[in-house]
Amino acid sequence: MRRGLLPPAILLATLAGLGAAAPQPGVNLDLVLADAPAPRLSDYRLFLDAGADRPNGRVAPYDLVTPLFTDHAEKDRFVFTPHGRRIGYTATGVLDFPAGAVLVKTFAYPADLRRPDHDVRKVETRLLIRKALGWTAQTYVWNAEGTEAVLKRAGARVPVRFTDPGGREVALDYAVPNQNQCKTCHQVEGAVSPIGPKAWNLNHEVAQAGGGRANLLALWSRAGLLEGAPAPEALPRLAAWNDAAQPLEARARAYLDVNCGHCHSPAGSASNSGLFLTADETRPAALGVGKPPVAAGRGSGGLSVAIDPGHPERSILAFRMASGEPGVMMPELGRTLVHEEGVELVQAWISSMPPARRPGD
């Protein structure tokens, strides 16, 4: 996985305005706060170059402890905050971003995932913009040359080819979401909301320029980007889904939280399912243990419950994660491929649960 493009030392310099010696125009805040989305990504001046590789001043790279799976796309994330504004720390939920903040996420594919910095093709750059009254979501689709990204509100399919970590050739019809589909996942109580930038999912060590590592939130605090955060040792931390040194259950719950919990929560799009997969859910039935499906249709796969403890092969949760078929697969947006490592993690977690007693066993 590619980590932030810029070393944090540069990040700190740009945030402090030290890098602004050259008379570069800053991010176009008027456009950021305008009602209508800009027709081109470059209009916002979030980046200094047409290829969106060099962020402008106050545009800081970041990444997450446990990210969403999106068909193996590499994701480069940045956050912009207007001059004089800071992000407010919150222990739970999304951090309190000020009006004018922009979350930027570029989805890209290297020709060969084993060489992530070579021959990279950008597909889309999604923006979550904190307007005066709330968040809006837009996406910009890149041309084949990677020189310009234009607004695409109604979604698109983009053919993508790459070599996966196992050396296999993969071809897929990458789905760029339409504006409403952005909101389907990015919502809390019907209003658009970011998903990733919560304190516990940002609380990790990142590489620093010149060697060494530092806590991302501590870096943000030091740079004046974030206010109110406690010391790193007092911060909540989400498990890294792919860190085998961490407990299996915590990793599986983190994976489900990030990949499923935005819809499968009482305030999300799948609230009516009664299946709640956020990491703070403690009721076994709400987590799916012994829970029959409600509106799964053929998504049930002929199985009776979301989670049959000890038996991933009898668990609808694992079945739907392992499907690539529309109408069956979960999540139903954001992927066309099966995330095999994610499926294996959730299967291992279900396997580790003590089996329920059942008639006939």
Partner: protein
């Protein structure tokens, strides 16, 4: 409450500042890029606008969605404007509506990979003169629901035809104030299903050639439980004879072939003035929810149920529910048209169940608890009259005034 106030305030400001805003009609015609043009119109529409979809066939590759209040989506007729999702590559339904005061009418949705048309948290939704169909006939691989309003208030389904849903043709879940009328459901597993909902009127519909005609259910472990106050009347519920093709695990997969009306775990359901015939398992079945659940607020029993004044034809000649064939054999002929599992109490609370089953004869299985078919002590009586129950008032779809 505060959101409603804000909306009203904004509307008032807009009206006074700019005068009356002309409602626009956004016309979408068939042809290349139909997916993007149609979705763009659904994004561009403003409250009061109509997205007019011209006659013709639209071959769509992804789900469509609408999130703007007060929009009408209209075709040129359910046989003229066809939205085909045969080539659908993603999304859980054909059309998803998540805004209030939307009308969708006069069009067809065909062959979605998941549900046909879904609306969630969409108050004052109206589904009018629609066709939702899986054109290959009943198949387990068809989508679950044809029209699927959920978690909404004031739902109208009028003049809708659904064929081939692998769960329910018309499904209304976790909602309040519902009318389903003048609609036709055929070749689905369940024709029409009202689940975990309050105040529903289901009338003047035809449910035929499904596995089961009309279901009124309540299920545990859902945000809204305790379904009650549904009237099922003046429907024709006939010849439901399609073998159950629901994927296992779904609650309707347990519905016996040839069931007219089934009430499961619900309160104050009135079934009257229907014509019910040609259903091999039973005309009307009242049953408990039999699976394990751990929610103490959930009541698994049907109670305060009224069945009266229905025209009951030939039903129950070849019952397919557990224990049914043995009972039919013991009775030496077809089952009575009304079948009740007879569970009177659950969770140690006795005698909480009362019914008024006036259409007879009634087969009472007298089960000691939900699903305890092995302990059945069947009796047949002309009727079971425990009490009288006031009928729920006709459902009003007028928004409540503060």
């Amino acid at each position: 409450m505060s959101r409603i106030t804000v909306c009203l305030a904004v509307a008032a400001v807009l009206a006074s500042a700019s005068g009356a805003v002309e409602a626009a009609t956004l016309v979408v015609t068939p042809g290349p890029d139909a997916q993007e043009r149609l979705q763009t119109a659904l994004l561009d529409a403003r409250p009061g606008d109509t997205v007019q979809i011209a006659a013709g066939r639209f071959d769509l590759t992804d789900g469509l969605s609408l999130d703007v209040d007060g929009v009408t989506v209209a075709g040129a007729g359910p046989d003229a404007t066809v939205l085909s999702f045969k080539g659908q590559k993603g999304a859980g339904e054909g059309l998803l509506i998540t805004s209030d005061r939307v009308t969708v009418k006069d069009l067809a949705v065909e062959d979605t990979r998941g549900d046909g048309i879904k609306s969630k948290g969409a108050d004052d939704i109206r589904y009018l003169n629609l066709r939702v169909e899986w054109t290959g006939g009943p198949k387990e691989t068809n989508g679950a629901y044809g029209v699927y309003p959920v978690s909404s208030q004031r739902v109208l389904i009028d003049g809708v035809l659904v064929r081939g849903a692998s769960d329910a043709g018309v499904y209304v879940g976790q909602s309040r104030y519902i009318i389903v009328r003048n609609s036709r459901a055929e070749f689905n597993v369940a024709g029409i299903e009202i689940e975990n909902s309050m105040f529903a009127d289901v009338h003047d519909n035809v449910a035929t050639r499904n596995t089961a005609g009309i279901l009124v259910f309540d299920l545990p472990n859902l945000p809204q439980m305790g379904g009650h106050s549904t009237r099922v009347f003046r429907n024709r519920i006939a010849d439901n004879d399609t073998p159950n093709f629901a994927p296992k695990g779904n609650i309707v997969a347990s519905v016996p072939n040839g069931t007219g009306v089934m009430v499961m775990a619900n309160r104050n359901v009135h079934v009257f003035d229907n014509a019910i015939s040609g259903n091999q398992s039973a005309g009307v079945m009242l049953v408990s929810y039999t699976q394990a659940f751990n929610d103490p607020t959930y009541n698994p029993l049907p109670r305060d149920i009224v069945v009266r004044d229905n025209r009951l034809g030939r039903n129950g000649w070849d019952p397919k529910f557990p224990g049914g064939p043995e009972i039919a054999k013991a009775l030496g002929g077809p089952l009575p048209p009304l079948v009740w599992d007879g569970v009177r109490a659950a969770g140690g609370k006795p005698a909480e169940v009362k019914v008024r089953l006036a259409d007879g004869p009634v087969l009472n299985l007298n089960l000691p608890g939900p699903g305890q078919v092995d302990a059945a002590a069947p009796t047949v009586s002309a009727s079971v009259i425990d009490a009288t129950f006031a009928e729920p008032p006709a459902v009003s779809l007028e928004p409540a005034r503060p």
